[in-house]
């Protein structure tokens, strides 16, 4: 019987999903009290509605210092789908580095806006232009719709770089959860199809393997945010229940036979996460194949903890790391350009522009 698993009488039916003696970091454990999870996790409409509702109810995003705009898809010179662009207002002269960011949601849920927070913060703090496509979702649009949208967005960024004020020599990709699978797949495809050069791939608790054959996938059947049951449903929706034996590596990056000649990588993994072991394996294979890879595993965490509870101590460390690595990539690409300091986590950096409160959003 899972420790403390049964809700006390009179408590709301919000899920407290803890498995056995799993200890979560204090701030993450507390945050579970405010999860809004539909009772039936496999009810797609309920999940989608929940995301929409919570997005609408979230704190208004009004960051002075970052300009957010949407570019519609479907036009001849435009991106394949709507993309949301986050651009730092007080950027130095010249082309800016760019990050293609893919949001998560098991290939079926959410929308670009869901990661407004991290995209805005990275734009402001790292001095990048963030581009987040609202890629098509399964089951209505199964593979390869999502990866096609994402990859074509990359191609569009590279082709339109000058017009958009982007530096084509400094494009990075990143994504969370299923977005991580898309990011990894984009890198594989760019390698195989001689596409745009990518300087870095940031994979945050990424999905990678439809075979779901790992100890963590087998163990974590009832963990917060994501579990094995949802993983199985995710792959069924994305690839169909009747899968061919040879699933494309653009769908499941772990299927790639070779991980050589890929961009440097930064991988974050969570502990009580069914995706943990496949992500660790992917990172090890990246390393073995000779790619410059950083890997940070966090104990006492659930899937996508850094995005779900961005204020926790552990999440601040992850953010600090993202900042550091993005700045380093930027400096490597343009060594003579000044790298402005931004707001760092836990007071590690001194704010130069966009100081902590006056230029940032106040509560509404």
């Amino acid at each position: 019987m899972a420790e403390g698993a049964s809700p006390k009488p009179g408590q709301p039916r919000h899920r407290r999903r803890r498995r056995g003696e799993a200890w979560f970091d204090a701030e993450l454990s507390a945050a579970i009290a405010f999860f809004d999870t539909p009772d039936d996790l496999l009810d797609i409409e309920a999940q989608r509605e929940s995301f929409r509702r919570n997005y609408e109810g979230a704190r208004p995003l009004s960051m002075t210092g970052v300009e957010v705009l949407d570019i519609p898809g479907g036009t001849s010179e435009g991106p394949p789908v709507r993309v949301r662009i986050y651009r730092p207002v007080h950027a130095p002269e010249g082309a800016l580095p760019a990050m293609l960011w893919l949001h998560g949601g098991a290939f079926s849920f959410a929308f670009a806006e869901i990661d407004d927070d991290i995209c805005s913060r990275l734009a402001l703090d790292a001095g990048y232009v963030l581009v987040s496509p609202d890629y098509r979702l399964s089951p209505e649009h199964p593979f390869p719709a999502g990866i096609d949208d994402a990859y074509r967005t990359l191609e569009w960024m590279a082709a339109q770089a000058t017009r958009m004020g982007l530096d084509p020599g400094c494009i990075v990709v990143g994504g969370s959860s299923s977005g991580g699978a898309l990011a990894a797949a984009i890198c594989l495809r760019a390698r195989d199809e001689h596409g745009p050069t990518i300087q870095l791939q940031v994979l945050s608790c990424p999905v990678t393997d439809d075979r779901m054959d790992s100890p963590s996938m087998r163990t974590y059947d009832d963990t917060p945010v994501f579990d094995q049951v949802q993983a199985a449903a995710m792959w069924d929706r994305y690839l169909g229940t009747d899968r061919p034996p040879d699933v494309s590596p653009f769908a499941a990056p772990a299927r790639a036979r070779s991980l050589a000649d890929l961009p440097p990588a930064y991988v974050v993994t969570a502990h009580h996460d069914p995706l943990r072991d496949e992500a660790l394996r992917y990172a090890m294979r990246l390393i073995a194949a000779g790619n410059r890879t950083e890997l940070h595993h966090f104990p006492d965490t659930f899937h996508s903890f850094d995005l779900v509870v961005p204020t926790s101590g552990l999440s601040l460390r992850v953010y600090s790391d993202y900042l550091a690595i993005l700045r380093r990539v930027r400096a490597d690409a343009a060594p003579s350009a000044p790298v402005e300091a931004g707001r760092g986590a836990e007071g590690t950096d001194v704010p130069e522009y966009g100081p902590t409160t006056s230029a940032r959003s106040r509560t509404a």
Binding site: I32, A33, V309, T311, G313, G347
Partner: protein
């Protein structure tokens, strides 16, 4: 990720939202959140800067809603409260925002309670009511209700696991002092909450933290100075604390016998060997092998022979036993030969070795160290 968390300020101030907030702070407490974590978590849920002042340390911590420390801008204080530990004010907590929100009072109240509990837990000194409550928790005859209540009153989280340590006083040494050192040591190194009772020559320490048996064993081993023999019980649900106590008490008896040369013994490491402690004393002492060892130990230098056999049981090789006994390995071999002659057993023979080892453990359990019985 703007999609998973509900926002407190957007919820109706009905029972559901209040319960979530209580749950939020209960979790922080149960997970032994650091002070920084409590302040960050408050700032996050209240969506504004939260602050705490520790009067004892003369220290102020302010963190904003993004987790940034000491934000330059100070907004007006919309809610504040003193932090009381055992009735005495030891600090204060507050929220800074341009306007107040419906939940501010409740948030600050919860924050004050959580900070107070955090500061109370860092004190390892015994409070007057503790010993009786600890005894209640481990007693055979307590009702489930009384046990549960005692666990709560002691400051533990009833629906989490805890473990019990047993401390036997060696040769009448100051047990209370050793217990105090142990409790403080466990609190300092691993954030344990430790509450103890001294019952004559033996003491029980209840401990709750996320440390593994091995980690606890190491901490305890580092802190004790040989004045007490310590047994470490298994981690159990709080309601089954007695099981852990019984295991710890058994393990303590093995301190000079098995399986490690120094330091505390963990019940989990004993496995089947623990059963030897259940052999009644009278039965053990009438066994001919054990009698022979007892008689041999009574002779000049005979005791050293038997202790050498015990060392050999523990260490498995002449060389290792020699190192630990600070003897030459030929001296060890000599002494073991005496034992072989006395018992009429060859230690090279596997059957003989098991027999001699068992006899040694039974002799050690029943003639050295603490006697059984809880």
């Amino acid at each position: 990720m703007r999609g998973l968390l509900l926002r407190l300020s957007a919820l109706d101030p009905d029972a559901g939202a209040s319960l979530r907030l209580i749950d939020y702070y209960d979790e922080l407490l149960a997970s032994r959140a650091s002070l920084d974590a409590i302040v960050r978590a408050t700032a996050a849920i209240a969506e504004c800067t939260a602050g705490v002042r520790d009067d004892q340390a003369g220290h102020v911590t302010r963190i904003d809603l993004h987790g940034i420390r000491s934000p330059a801008v100070m907004a007006p204080v919309v809610a504040e409260q003193k932090v009381l530990v055992e009735g005495a004010p030891v600090g204060r907590v507050w929220l800074e925002r341009d306007q107040s929100h419906a939940f501010d009072e409740m948030v600050i109240e919860r924050m004050a309670l959580t900070v107070a509990a955090r500061w109370a837990a860092r004190s390892a000194t015994a409070r007057p009511g503790d010993p009786a409550l600890v005894e209640l928790v481990i007693s055979e005859t307590s009702s489930e209700e009384d046990r549960h209540r005692a666990v709560r009153l002691l400051g533990f989280t009833p629906d989490r696991h805890l473990r019990v340590l047993a401390a036997w006083s060696n040769r009448g040494a100051d047990l209370a002092g050793a217990v105090r050192m142990l409790s403080t040591g466990m609190a300092d190194s691993g954030g344990s909450l430790a509450r103890a009772v001294v019952m004559g020559e033996r003491a029980a320490i209840l401990e709750q933290s996320s440390q593994s048996t091995e980690e606890i064993r190491k901490v305890v081993g580092g802190v004790t100075d040989g004045t007490a023999s310590i047994g470490v019980g298994p981690r159990v649900p709080a309601g089954r604390a007695r099981e852990s106590w019984v295991g710890a008490a058994t393990a303590a008896r093995f301190v000079s016998v098995w399986p490690r040369a120094e330091g505390p013994v963990a019940f989990e490491e004993l496995g089947a060997i623990a059963c030897l402690a259940d052999v009644p004393r009278e039965v053990a002492l009438v066994n001919s092998d054990v009698q022979i060892l007892e008689q041999h130990a009574g002779r000049t230098s005979g005791r050293l022979d038997v202790e050498t056999l015990l060392a050999f049981v523990r260490d498995g090789s002449l060389r290792t036993a020699a190192e630990h006994q600070h003897m030459h390995h030929s001296s060890i071999a000599n002494r073991l030969r005496h034992i072989e002659e006395a018992l009429g057993i060859g230690l090279d023979d596997p059957a003989g070795r098991v027999r001699a080892q068992t006899a040694a453990i039974l002799w050690g359990l029943n003639t050295m160290g603490p006697s059984p019985g809880t």
